[in-house]
């Protein structure tokens, strides 16, 4: 092996970012406030798990608004799945959640970002994913890709969510659990009947108890609101994780 190429897997050329026209082929209720959109985008090159894209809407008067959404799919080129939470004061999400219909066309720009990504075969260290609310979307894409590749590294997802009805990809995440993927849910407002754990915000104690310990040197991905990410990240460093092992992505109605 060439000394300059020490990664376990040969590097693939990264898909170039471009604008694509996408057609909504399916729209499903994901949670009471969110939809799952499946898009057909014939020129979409596929994307690495963890990446996002921009959706641009153009009003009849020419006014344009664009917002970033994580890609929820680990799917072949030409196909994109998004899960979009409605922000009541948003410019783009109310249209996508309330008004968009199968057959509608959207402009999408991507794939975007090579920082908050995970690729199979890159490392044999375990991976801890930590999601707050709809921040689970890129982490779900990582879990899907991990499963599809049969990657042997252990993956663990700690998912903080308000209520059972607001769990994104609930059935899919449950189906992914197994020897190399573990799922821990923390409910902050309401839990299923007989839920054994306390209901409330994720605490430092729960974080310590439900995540892979620093001694195993996990790669850590944290995605959620700015407040969530900035609460969790210092705790991880206090628990002994190296700050360089903690990758973060904040969202919030940009």
């Amino acid at each position: 092996m060439n000394a300059l190429h020490t990664a376990a897997m040969p590097d693939q050329p990264r898909a170039r970012t471009a604008w694509h026209t996408a057609t909504i082929v399916e729209k499903l209720a994901e949670t009471p406030h969110a939809v799952r959109l499946t898009l057909a985008a014939p020129t979409w090159p596929g994307s690495e798990p963890g990446t996002h894209l921009d959706v641009r809407l153009t009003a009849p008067d020419g006014y344009q608004a664009s917002r970033s959404y994580s890609v929820a799919s680990s799917t072949p080129a030409g196909n994109v799945v998004l899960a979009i939470d409605e922000l009541p004061d948003g410019e783009v999400s109310p249209f996508l959640v309330q008004d968009a219909r199968p057959g509608d066309q959207l402009e999408i720009h991507g794939p975007l970002g090579s920082y908050f990504t995970w690729l199979p075969g890159r490392s044999d260290r375990p991976v801890q994913l930590i999601a707050g609310g709809s921040g689970v979307v890129p982490l779900y894409a990582i879990a899907l890709a991990h499963d599809a590749a049969g990657d042997p590294a252990h993956l663990q997802l700690l998912y903080s969510v308000r209520t059972p009805a607001e769990v994104f990809f609930a059935d899919e995440l449950a189906a992914l659990t197994g020897p190399t993927f573990g799922l821990d849910l923390v409910y902050t407002r309401e839990a299923p009947h007989d839920w054994p754990d306390p209901i409330g915000r994720l605490t430092r104690e729960t974080l310590a108890a439900r995540t892979i310990p620093a001694s195993q040197r996990p790669h850590i991905y944290v995605c959620g609101s700015t407040g969530f990410v900035e609460t969790i990240t210092p705790w991880l460093v206090d628990l002994g994780h190296s700050a360089t092992d903690v990758l973060t992505e904040r969202f919030g109605g940009l």
């Binding site: 590097d11 050329p13 990264r14 970012t17 996002h52 720009h109 970002g113 920082y115 992505e249 904040r250």
Partner: protein
């Protein structure tokens, strides 16, 4: 304090300027010298355009403004930007 996101939010607009993704590049702050991936900068979206600030000293690293068919990018607060060589 105004809300902020992070440098991941710059990926779309900067892809209009650079051929490679810049959010994974390491940026050195022109004020304090802190070196970190662009994705880890604090990005304030409520100014006209996007303002990226150093996570350590709050110095303005970069400003991107899109106005009609123009895009104005200031990198005056950045000392260096280190990108991985493009993969073949």
């Amino acid at each position: 304090m105004p809300r902020h996101l992070d440098g991941n939010a710059l990926a779309g607009v900067l892809s209009e300027v650079f051929t490679a993704d810049v959010t994974a590049a390491r940026a050195r702050c022109g004020n304090c010298g802190n070196t970190a991936p662009v994705a880890e900068a604090m990005v304030y979206p409520d100014a006209p355009g996007l303002v990226a600030r150093c996570v350590r000293c709050n110095h303005v690293l970069a400003v991107v403004v899109e106005a009609g068919d123009r895009l104005v990018l200031s990198l005056a607060g950045l000392d260096t930007l280190e990108l991985r060589a493009p993969r073949a």
